[in-house]
């Protein structure tokens, strides 16, 4: 099966005044559809940078990033935005919900940007997803009226509402207690199974990592290991491994 994400020899440098800080120093990564991958590593290892490149919110300094067959370097800002809207879903560490909109409206938002579905079709889709994440009773609540775990579930529903091929989650459990964090990862896993959505999430929590099919370990901007998650099979030794 063709890779949904293909990263080949990618580097990313940040410029702080006159100092060039390399965040990624030649990374190769291939992700197949339906993968449930964790990107692990200590702070500053390049996890978020890698997610940004996959999420098309940033561009590589060199190398090729191909998302769902599109070389992101060749796309305009508008095309990148459309790619994010249609192909990607985002779950943020701090949930990032629009505070003035209700739970329902937050989840509906990407559908409105897509302008494809009518109001009733949107409502069916949003309500179905809210039911799935267990928040159908909170549809009219404001984010501020929800707990952290509930908020993150709204974010998951929002990320999935457009039925994206890939969902990116940046430290989705970092702001949650471990029990809630586990529940969120379980939910993500369940979605991965039921919808066949590819999940790529960053974390430095070993317990969370354990849920992943594969773990990509980053250190100093380089992939150290690409391991099958514990219990799922033997750890892969090659840092770059296709399926």
């Amino acid at each position: 099966m063709a890779d949904i994400v293909s990263i080949v020899n990618v580097t990313k440098d940040y410029h702080l005044d006159k100092v060039v800080v390399p965040a990624l120093r030649g990374v190769d990564l291939h992700v197949a559809p339906g993968d449930f991958i964790s990107i692990a590593g200590p702070s500053g290892s390049g996890k978020t940078t890698l997610l940004n490149l996959i999420g098309c919110v940033d561009v590589a300094t060199s190398g090729t990033v191909t998302i769902n067959g599109h070389d992101t370097k060749s796309l305009s800002d508008r095309q990148l935005t459309d790619l994010r809207l249609d192909t990607l879903g985002f779950i943020f560490q701090s949930f990032n919900l629009v505070p003035v909109l209700s739970v329902f409206q937050n989840v509906e938002f990407p559908l409105l940007l897509q302008r494809r579905l009518g109001a009733s079709a949107r409502a069916i889709r949003v309500n179905a997803l809210l039911a799935k994440v267990g928040l159908d009773k909170h549809a009219q609540h404001r984010p501020s009226e929800l707990s952290g775990g509930q908020r993150q579930r709204v974010a998951i529903a929002r990320a999935l509402v457009t039925a994206p091929k890939i969902v990116l989650a940046d430290e989705p459990t970092a702001n949650l207690d471990s029990k809630t964090g586990d529940a969120i990862i379980d939910l993500m896993k369940e979605m991965n199974k039921s919808e066949g959505t590819t999940f790529i999430f960053s974390t430095h929590d070993a317990k969370v990592m354990a849920h992943a099919d594969r773990v990509v370990r980053l250190a100093d901007g380089l992939i150290q290991t690409l391991a099958e998650a514990a219990g799922s099979g033997p750890a892969a030794l090659s840092p770059v491994e296709g399926h």
Binding site: G55, V57, R84, F90, F92, V98, P99, F109, L113
Partner: protein, 696 residues
């Protein structure tokens, strides 16, 4: 559509999301409030003032001779514009009336002349002289009347004698002419009055020449007036109403004095001041204790009692003494001191004294120095520098309904066009005939300039013996053609054609449909140009002179103030929206990350600010409308005569103007867009990476 709804939803939800939004909202609220209230006020003053100007004298437009140096300025009384005369009004009236929207054309001209009055002594002596030697046809005065008049003069002499005696004590030596004292002593002596009847004219002459001059209160009034076809004027300006006397009969010469001028200039000054105080206390609810102007009026009344004392004969003086002693509770016998005490009014005693004055004292004096039915001699310096004088009968007083208290609307009296033409120095057919008659009487003959010397000094004419004839005063006076002429003229009835034929300085145009003023001005100008009438036309606002520009100035000030407010608002709001945007970088980044285009972000920030503007703007407009409504209900009182004119009545009831309401919304949208444009563009530059940044 759903995206717009989403934008609106976000905008509405965001209204009170941040303290900054409330700040922005309040700025917009105040700006809109100011715009709506200010705009409605200015528009109301505009329409009120247009009613004042149009309704009192200007009409909707004024035509004048295009060759004039200046333009008409009907209300600039002390700065008369230099206008050429329209040579024959009859020739322009027809073509003007033929212009479709023109209803009436009223010929007119504005002028200011001098009316001189003798002093109180002169007036008393004049009455006595008339009683002693009535003119032919006038009824003979009774013995009692003559005795009363004599008594009055005697009383006056006594008052002056007293004044001079006091002056002689306090003034520097030599300041009082001993001759004056001797004359006063003579006039005050019983012997003088015992011999009065034997030689009344001689005695009167002595009093006129030697005593009257000691009283310096001779007065002259500058009378501003509109010379016009009085019948046409009354028809065209339906706010005009007769207050005292009657209208000038059709086709007659005559004068109608503005009630305002009649009260302020012709009324006994003490009485006029009392009226002013009374009005301030009862209508404007002022207090003497708190108002410096009113205190000043009280002070003037206290010190200027002579005018009223000189009007009292001995009997009245004694009666007045009793009234004043009762009213003031004083035992004082000196009349001047008593009056001074009486007029020393305060908030507690004013109304009682006012009542006493009008019910008990006023009947003993002449409240007005001229009554309807009497004639007035009006003098005018013509353009060529000659003095013209006309004797005009005053038929009554008039006012413009709703503008009774306005000194501006009431500044001009109304005069017939014939007298006006005489005073202005225009040569009328009557004048030409009169000049010819005088030339014939004097034996004058026309001498050509070139032959002047030869005619006057050359030739072989004989030197003849001149002969002296004695002058018969009485015969001359009795048959004085001037006096005869004035009488004739005042009785003469002029036909409308006679009134129209001749010069006018300008003409007021009354329209059938005032809303078509601009078009009609063009039509009038075209009619004049096509028929070579040589006229120019201005609308009422320009015709009014400087006063007409007041509204324009108000509008400019309002526009400037609004402009400043909104420029300041744009700057403050721009900063506030920038700050609000910076606070929302993560939210905007998130929206960008999950697929919102830059254009969406741009529209979002603009839409939010405009919705904010409209919401608070509506609130401001609503509040403003409320304030205007309240002002409409309560009315803004015209605190002074000036405002009376601008408000076209005692108070202004401003109406909400749709224009300023709509204008306010347009301005709010423009201002909010302008202030949000930079932050909106800034917001589009927010990178979706910002969404990924951790909260801290």
């Amino acid at each position: 559509m759903s995206e717009i709804l989403l934008l609106l939803r976000i905008s509405l939800r965001n209204l009170f999301a941040s303290f900054l939004n409330v700040v922005i909202g309040l700025i917009i609220l105040v700006g809109t409030l100011f715009f709506v209230v200010g705009g409605s006020l200015v528009n109301s003053i505009d329409s009120a003032m247009s009613r004042s100007i149009i309704g009192s004298v200007a009409g909707h437009a004024q035509v004048y001779q295009a060759s004039s140096k200046d333009k008409p300025a009907l209300f600039d009384n002390w700065n008369m514009p230099d206008l050429d005369a329209i040579p024959d009004f009859a020739k322009v009236e027809g073509p003007l009336l033929a212009v479709p929207n023109v209803k009436t054309v009223v010929p007119m001209g504005v002028n200011t002349s001098i009316v001189a009055f003798g002093n109180t002594v002169d007036q008393a002596l004049e009455k006595l002289r008339k009683a002693e030697s009535p003119k032919k046809g006038e009824p003979k005065a009774s013995r009692e009347q003559i005795a009363s008049l004599k008594d009055h003069v005697r009383q006056i002499v006594k008052v002056i004698d007293g004044d001079m005696a006091k002056l002689n004590v306090v003034a520097a030596k030599g300041a009082v002419d001993p001759e004056d004292l001797r004359n006063l002593a003579k006039a005050n002596s019983p012997a003088f009055w015992a011999g009065f009847d034997a030689d009344s004219l001689g005695h009167l002459e002595f009093l006129e020449n030697k005593i009257s001059s000691l009283v310096p209160d001779a007065d002259q009034i500058f009378l501003g007036y509109v010379g016009t076809d009085l019948d046409a004027f009354q028809g065209a300006f339906d706010r005009m109403q007769i207050v005292d006397g009657t209208a000038v009969p059709k086709g007659r010469r005559g004068l109608l004095i503005s009630k305002y001028v009649y009260e302020s200039q012709f009324k006994l000054k003490v009485a006029y001041r009392l009226d002013t105080i009374h009005e301030a206390l009862t209508v404007q609810h002022k207090k003497i204790a708190k108002d410096a102007d009113l205190q000043d009026l009280v002070r003037q009344n206290k010190t200027q009692t002579r005018e009223i004392i000189l009007q009292l004969d001995a009997l009245s003086a004694r009666k007045a003494q009793g009234i004043l002693q009762t009213a003031t509770g004083s035992k004082e016998s000196d009349l001047a001191k008593l009056f001074s005490l009486f007029f020393d009014t305060n908030d507690a005693n004013f109304e009682d004294r006012y009542k006493v004055f009008y019910t008990q004292l006023a009947p003993m004096v002449e409240l007005y120095r001229l009554k309807p039915g009497e004639s007035l001699t009006i003098k005018n310096y013509t353009k060529s520098g000659f003095v013209e004088a006309v004797n005009v009968k005053v038929y009554g007083t008039f006012q413009f309904k709703g503008l009774e208290k306005s000194g501006l609307a009431g500044a001009l009296s109304l005069m017939d066009l014939m007298s006006f033409r005489d005073l202005y120095g225009f040569v009328t057919p009557e004048k030409i005939a009169e000049t010819k008659k005088l030339e014939a009487q004097a034996g004058a003959k026309y001498v050509d300039r070139a032959d002047a010397e030869a005619s006057l000094f050359g030739g072989g004419g004989e030197v003849t013996q001149g002969h002296q004839t004695s002058i018969n005063d009485q015969a001359e006076l009795g048959s004085n053609p001037q006096i005869q002429k004035a009488q004739d003229l005042n009785d003469r009835v002029y036909s409308p054609a006679e009134i129209n034929q001749g010069v006018a300085i300008e003409a007021a145009i009354i329209l059938k449909d005032p809303s078509k003023l601009k078009q009609t001005l063009k039509d009038i100008q075209k009619a004049s140009d096509d028929q070579h009438l040589g006229l120019a036309v201005v609308d009422w606002q320009k015709a009014a002179g400087n006063i007409g520009q007041f509204v324009l100035i108000c509008k400019l000030i309002l526009a400037f103030a609004t402009g400043v407010i909104f420029v300041v608002a744009i700057v403050i709001m721009n900063n506030a929206v920038v700050m609000a945007t910076l606070q929302r970088v993560r939210e905007i980044g998130t929206l960008r990350a999950i697929g919102a285009q830059r254009t969406f972000v741009l529209s979002m920030v603009l839409c939010e600010t405009v919705v904010l503007g409209l919401a608070f703007g509506s609130l401001g407009a609503l509040l403003g409308s409320g304030i205007v409504g309240w002002m409409n209900h309560a009315g803004i009182p015209a605190g002074n005569e000036f405002l009376y004119f601008f408000f076209s009545g005692p108070s202004l009831h401003p109406g909400l103007s749709l224009g300023s309401l709509l204008g306010a919304f347009v301005v709010v949208v423009l201002v909010t867009c302008a202030s949000a444009l930079y932050p909106a563009v800034m917001a589009t530059r927010v990178s979706p990476i910002q969404a990924m940044a951790s909260e801290d």
